[in-house]
Protein backbone atom coordinates (compact mmCIF):
# COMPACT_ATOMS: atom_id res chain seq x y z
CA UNK A 1 0.00 0.00 0.00
CA UNK A 2 1.31 3.42 -0.88
CA UNK A 3 1.44 5.94 1.92
CA UNK A 4 0.38 9.43 1.01
CA UNK A 5 0.92 12.55 3.09
CA UNK A 6 -1.91 15.06 3.39
CA UNK A 7 0.08 17.44 1.22
CA UNK A 8 0.41 14.79 -1.51
CA UNK A 9 -3.30 13.95 -1.46
CA UNK A 10 -4.30 17.61 -1.58
CA UNK A 11 -1.75 18.34 -4.31
CA UNK A 12 -2.97 15.58 -6.59
CA UNK A 13 -6.61 16.56 -6.19
CA UNK A 14 -5.66 20.19 -6.75
CA UNK A 15 -3.66 19.48 -9.92
CA UNK A 16 -6.46 17.48 -11.51
CA UNK A 17 -9.13 20.00 -10.57
CA UNK A 18 -7.13 22.80 -12.20
CA UNK A 19 -5.56 21.37 -15.37
CA UNK A 20 -7.22 21.77 -18.74
CA UNK A 21 -7.52 18.18 -19.95
CA UNK A 22 -8.03 19.36 -23.51
CA UNK A 23 -4.64 21.10 -23.48
CA UNK A 24 -2.46 18.98 -21.22
CA UNK A 25 -3.53 15.57 -22.54
CA UNK A 26 -2.76 16.32 -26.19
CA UNK A 27 0.42 18.23 -25.25
CA UNK A 28 1.78 15.30 -23.25
CA UNK A 29 1.04 12.62 -25.85
CA UNK A 30 2.31 14.83 -28.68
CA UNK A 31 5.55 15.49 -26.83
CA UNK A 32 5.98 11.78 -26.14
CA UNK A 33 5.52 10.85 -29.80
CA UNK A 34 7.95 13.56 -30.94
CA UNK A 35 10.65 13.12 -28.30
CA UNK A 36 10.49 9.31 -28.17
CA UNK A 37 9.64 8.40 -31.76
CA UNK A 38 9.62 4.66 -31.11
CA UNK A 39 6.36 5.18 -29.22
CA UNK A 40 4.69 5.81 -32.59
CA UNK A 41 4.68 2.05 -33.13
CA UNK A 42 1.46 1.81 -31.13
CA UNK A 43 -0.47 4.24 -33.27
CA UNK A 44 -0.18 2.79 -36.76
CA UNK A 45 -3.82 3.58 -37.54
CA UNK A 46 -3.58 7.24 -36.48
CA UNK A 47 -2.60 8.49 -39.93
CA UNK A 48 0.22 10.99 -40.43
CA UNK A 49 2.85 10.75 -37.67
CA UNK A 50 6.00 11.16 -39.75
CA UNK A 51 7.24 14.40 -38.25
CA UNK A 52 6.61 16.79 -35.36
CA UNK A 53 4.32 19.06 -37.36
CA UNK A 54 2.16 16.14 -38.50
CA UNK A 55 1.90 14.82 -34.95
CA UNK A 56 1.07 18.22 -33.50
CA UNK A 57 -1.73 18.70 -36.02
CA UNK A 58 -3.11 15.17 -35.76
CA UNK A 59 -6.66 15.13 -34.35
CA UNK A 60 -6.54 11.43 -33.43
CA UNK A 61 -3.43 12.09 -31.32
CA UNK A 62 -5.12 15.02 -29.60
CA UNK A 63 -8.25 13.00 -28.83
CA UNK A 64 -6.23 10.10 -27.57
CA UNK A 65 -4.19 12.41 -25.37
CA UNK A 66 -7.38 13.60 -23.68
CA UNK A 67 -8.53 10.00 -23.25
CA UNK A 68 -5.23 8.93 -21.69
CA UNK A 69 -5.24 11.87 -19.26
CA UNK A 70 -8.80 11.05 -18.20
CA UNK A 71 -7.47 7.54 -17.62
CA UNK A 72 -5.74 8.99 -14.56
CA UNK A 73 -9.05 10.09 -13.01
CA UNK A 74 -9.66 6.69 -11.45
CA UNK A 75 -6.33 6.93 -9.64
CA UNK A 76 -7.11 10.45 -8.38
CA UNK A 77 -10.47 9.24 -7.01
CA UNK A 78 -9.00 6.10 -5.51
CA UNK A 79 -5.50 6.91 -4.29
CA UNK A 80 -5.47 4.10 -1.77
CA UNK A 81 -6.27 1.40 -4.33
CA UNK A 82 -4.47 2.49 -7.46
CA UNK A 83 -2.99 -0.91 -8.32
CA UNK A 84 -6.37 -2.60 -8.12
CA UNK A 85 -7.98 0.16 -10.17
CA UNK A 86 -5.64 -0.55 -13.08
CA UNK A 87 -5.79 -4.36 -13.15
CA UNK A 88 -7.96 -4.50 -16.24
CA UNK A 89 -6.18 -1.67 -18.05
CA UNK A 90 -2.83 -3.30 -17.32
CA UNK A 91 -4.00 -6.57 -18.87
CA UNK A 92 -5.32 -4.65 -21.85
CA UNK A 93 -2.01 -2.83 -22.44
CA UNK A 94 -0.12 -6.09 -22.10
CA UNK A 95 -2.29 -8.56 -23.95
CA UNK A 96 -4.04 -6.43 -26.53
CA UNK A 97 -1.90 -3.38 -27.19
CA UNK A 98 1.48 -5.00 -26.39
CA UNK A 99 2.91 -1.77 -25.02
CA UNK A 100 6.41 -1.92 -23.55
CA UNK A 101 5.79 -0.75 -19.96
CA UNK A 102 8.91 1.44 -20.05
CA UNK A 103 6.87 3.63 -22.37
CA UNK A 104 4.47 4.44 -19.50
CA UNK A 105 7.41 6.06 -17.72
CA UNK A 106 8.25 8.10 -20.82
CA UNK A 107 4.67 9.36 -21.09
CA UNK A 108 4.65 10.15 -17.36
CA UNK A 109 7.78 12.29 -17.83
CA UNK A 110 6.08 14.11 -20.72
CA UNK A 111 3.03 14.73 -18.52
CA UNK A 112 5.21 16.38 -15.89
CA UNK A 113 6.78 18.58 -18.56
CA UNK A 114 3.37 19.42 -20.07
CA UNK A 115 2.13 20.67 -16.70
CA UNK A 116 5.39 22.51 -16.10
CA UNK A 117 4.93 24.42 -19.37
CA UNK A 118 1.38 25.33 -18.33
CA UNK A 119 2.03 26.31 -14.73
CA UNK A 120 5.56 27.74 -14.81
CA UNK A 121 6.96 28.42 -11.35
CA UNK A 122 3.62 27.45 -9.76
CA UNK A 123 4.78 23.89 -10.47
CA UNK A 124 7.01 24.01 -7.39
CA UNK A 125 9.56 21.31 -6.51
CA UNK A 126 7.22 19.90 -3.82
CA UNK A 127 4.29 19.75 -6.23
CA UNK A 128 6.53 18.14 -8.86
CA UNK A 129 7.61 15.53 -6.30
CA UNK A 130 4.01 14.68 -5.36
CA UNK A 131 2.94 14.51 -8.99
CA UNK A 132 5.84 12.31 -10.05
CA UNK A 133 5.25 10.01 -7.07
CA UNK A 134 1.60 9.71 -8.10
CA UNK A 135 2.55 8.99 -11.72
CA UNK A 136 5.13 6.40 -10.68
CA UNK A 137 2.43 4.50 -8.78
CA UNK A 138 0.17 4.58 -11.85
CA UNK A 139 3.08 3.49 -14.07
CA UNK A 140 3.85 0.60 -11.72
CA UNK A 141 0.18 -0.40 -11.63
CA UNK A 142 -0.14 -0.37 -15.40
CA UNK A 143 2.82 -2.72 -15.62
CA UNK A 144 1.62 -5.00 -12.80
CA UNK A 145 -0.37 -7.49 -14.86
CA UNK A 146 2.25 -8.10 -17.51
CA UNK A 147 3.34 -11.71 -17.72
Amino acid sequence: MVEWTEFERDTIKDIFSKIDYDVVGPAALTRCLVVYPWTRRYFGNFGALYNAEAIMGNEMVANHGKKVLHGLDRAVKNMDHIKESYCELSQLHSDQFHVDPDNFRLLADCLAIAIATQWGSAFTPDIQAAFQKFLSVVVFSLGSQYH
Binding site: V34, I55, D109, G120, Q128
Partner: protein
Protein backbone atom coordinates in the same frame (compact mmCIF):
# COMPACT_ATOMS: atom_id res chain seq x y z
CA UNK B 1 21.35 8.45 -31.70
CA UNK B 2 23.84 10.98 -33.06
CA UNK B 3 23.08 14.64 -33.60
CA UNK B 4 22.04 15.81 -37.05
CA UNK B 5 22.90 19.29 -38.34
CA UNK B 6 19.31 20.24 -37.60
CA UNK B 7 19.66 19.03 -33.99
CA UNK B 8 22.84 21.06 -33.55
CA UNK B 9 21.24 24.21 -34.98
CA UNK B 10 18.18 23.87 -32.72
CA UNK B 11 20.30 23.20 -29.64
CA UNK B 12 22.67 26.12 -30.27
CA UNK B 13 19.77 28.46 -31.01
CA UNK B 14 17.82 27.47 -27.92
CA UNK B 15 20.83 27.55 -25.57
CA UNK B 16 21.80 30.99 -26.87
CA UNK B 17 18.31 32.19 -25.87
CA UNK B 18 18.34 30.68 -22.38
CA UNK B 19 21.98 30.99 -21.29
CA UNK B 20 21.40 34.36 -19.59
CA UNK B 21 19.16 32.51 -17.10
CA UNK B 22 21.74 29.81 -16.36
CA UNK B 23 21.88 30.66 -12.64
CA UNK B 24 18.13 30.18 -12.20
CA UNK B 25 18.03 27.12 -14.46
CA UNK B 26 20.87 25.52 -12.51
CA UNK B 27 19.36 26.36 -9.13
CA UNK B 28 15.95 24.97 -10.02
CA UNK B 29 17.39 21.85 -11.67
CA UNK B 30 19.51 20.80 -8.71
CA UNK B 31 16.86 21.79 -6.14
CA UNK B 32 14.25 19.68 -7.90
CA UNK B 33 16.64 16.76 -8.34
CA UNK B 34 17.14 16.66 -4.57
CA UNK B 35 13.47 17.22 -3.64
CA UNK B 36 11.94 14.82 -6.19
CA UNK B 37 14.69 12.17 -5.94
CA UNK B 38 15.86 12.36 -2.30
CA UNK B 39 18.32 9.48 -2.81
CA UNK B 40 20.54 11.98 -4.66
CA UNK B 41 21.25 13.69 -1.31
CA UNK B 42 23.89 11.05 -0.62
CA UNK B 43 26.27 12.95 -2.88
CA UNK B 44 25.93 16.11 -0.81
CA UNK B 45 26.31 14.80 2.72
CA UNK B 46 29.08 17.37 3.26
CA UNK B 47 26.51 20.20 3.12
CA UNK B 48 24.31 20.90 6.11
CA UNK B 49 21.62 22.72 4.21
CA UNK B 50 20.09 20.81 1.31
CA UNK B 51 16.87 22.78 1.14
CA UNK B 52 15.80 24.22 -2.20
CA UNK B 53 17.01 27.71 -1.17
CA UNK B 54 20.41 26.61 0.06
CA UNK B 55 23.25 28.78 -1.32
CA UNK B 56 25.29 25.61 -1.95
CA UNK B 57 22.51 24.18 -4.08
CA UNK B 58 22.24 27.43 -6.00
CA UNK B 59 25.97 27.64 -6.64
CA UNK B 60 26.45 23.99 -7.53
CA UNK B 61 23.36 23.87 -9.72
CA UNK B 62 24.88 26.69 -11.75
CA UNK B 63 28.21 24.84 -12.02
CA UNK B 64 26.50 21.74 -13.39
CA UNK B 65 24.15 23.47 -15.82
CA UNK B 66 26.89 25.81 -17.04
CA UNK B 67 28.84 22.67 -17.90
CA UNK B 68 25.90 21.42 -19.96
CA UNK B 69 25.44 24.75 -21.73
CA UNK B 70 29.16 25.31 -22.38
CA UNK B 71 29.59 21.81 -23.81
CA UNK B 72 27.70 23.05 -26.87
CA UNK B 73 31.13 24.30 -28.03
CA UNK B 74 32.32 20.69 -27.92
CA UNK B 75 29.27 19.33 -29.71
CA UNK B 76 31.26 17.79 -32.54
CA UNK B 77 33.36 15.70 -30.15
CA UNK B 78 31.71 15.45 -26.75
CA UNK B 79 33.64 12.33 -25.68
CA UNK B 80 37.00 13.92 -26.44
CA UNK B 81 36.04 17.32 -25.10
CA UNK B 82 34.65 16.00 -21.82
CA UNK B 83 37.43 13.50 -21.01
CA UNK B 84 38.67 15.43 -18.01
CA UNK B 85 35.17 15.90 -16.61
CA UNK B 86 34.58 12.21 -17.17
CA UNK B 87 37.69 11.40 -15.14
CA UNK B 88 36.47 13.69 -12.37
CA UNK B 89 33.05 11.98 -12.22
CA UNK B 90 34.53 8.50 -12.55
CA UNK B 91 37.50 8.58 -10.20
CA UNK B 92 36.85 11.36 -7.73
CA UNK B 93 33.11 11.98 -7.48
CA UNK B 94 32.08 8.42 -8.36
CA UNK B 95 28.53 9.35 -9.13
CA UNK B 96 26.32 6.45 -10.17
CA UNK B 97 25.57 7.21 -13.84
CA UNK B 98 21.84 6.60 -13.27
CA UNK B 99 21.81 10.00 -11.61
CA UNK B 100 22.81 11.77 -14.83
CA UNK B 101 19.44 10.74 -16.27
CA UNK B 102 17.66 11.98 -13.15
CA UNK B 103 19.36 15.36 -13.46
CA UNK B 104 18.56 15.50 -17.17
CA UNK B 105 14.86 14.92 -16.50
CA UNK B 106 14.74 17.75 -13.99
CA UNK B 107 16.68 20.03 -16.33
CA UNK B 108 14.13 19.36 -19.04
CA UNK B 109 11.22 20.05 -16.63
CA UNK B 110 12.84 23.38 -15.70
CA UNK B 111 13.43 24.32 -19.34
CA UNK B 112 9.76 23.60 -20.09
CA UNK B 113 8.67 25.55 -17.04
CA UNK B 114 10.83 28.61 -17.73
CA UNK B 115 10.61 28.68 -21.53
CA UNK B 116 7.23 27.15 -22.43
CA UNK B 117 7.06 28.80 -25.86
CA UNK B 118 10.66 28.06 -26.89
CA UNK B 119 11.00 24.55 -25.48
CA UNK B 120 8.80 23.04 -28.17
CA UNK B 121 8.66 19.27 -28.73
CA UNK B 122 11.05 19.73 -31.68
CA UNK B 123 13.62 21.54 -29.53
CA UNK B 124 13.00 19.07 -26.70
CA UNK B 125 13.92 16.01 -28.78
CA UNK B 126 17.20 17.58 -29.93
CA UNK B 127 18.08 18.68 -26.40
CA UNK B 128 17.15 15.23 -25.06
CA UNK B 129 19.55 13.59 -27.55
CA UNK B 130 22.28 16.06 -26.61
CA UNK B 131 21.83 15.38 -22.89
CA UNK B 132 21.96 11.62 -23.53
CA UNK B 133 25.24 12.09 -25.41
CA UNK B 134 26.66 14.15 -22.55
CA UNK B 135 25.76 11.26 -20.23
CA UNK B 136 27.67 8.88 -22.44
CA UNK B 137 30.67 11.20 -22.63
CA UNK B 138 30.72 11.59 -18.84
CA UNK B 139 30.60 7.80 -18.48
CA UNK B 140 33.54 7.28 -20.85
CA UNK B 141 36.19 6.77 -18.15
CA UNK B 142 34.02 4.86 -15.66
CA UNK B 143 35.30 1.41 -16.59
Amino acid sequence: MSLTDKDKALIKGFFAKVSSKAVEIGHQTLARTIVVYPQTKVYFSHWKDLGPDSPNIRKHGYTVVKGVLDSVDLIDDLVGGLLELSELHAFRLRIDPANFKILNLNLVVVLGLMFPDDFTPQVHVSVDKYLALICLALCEKYR
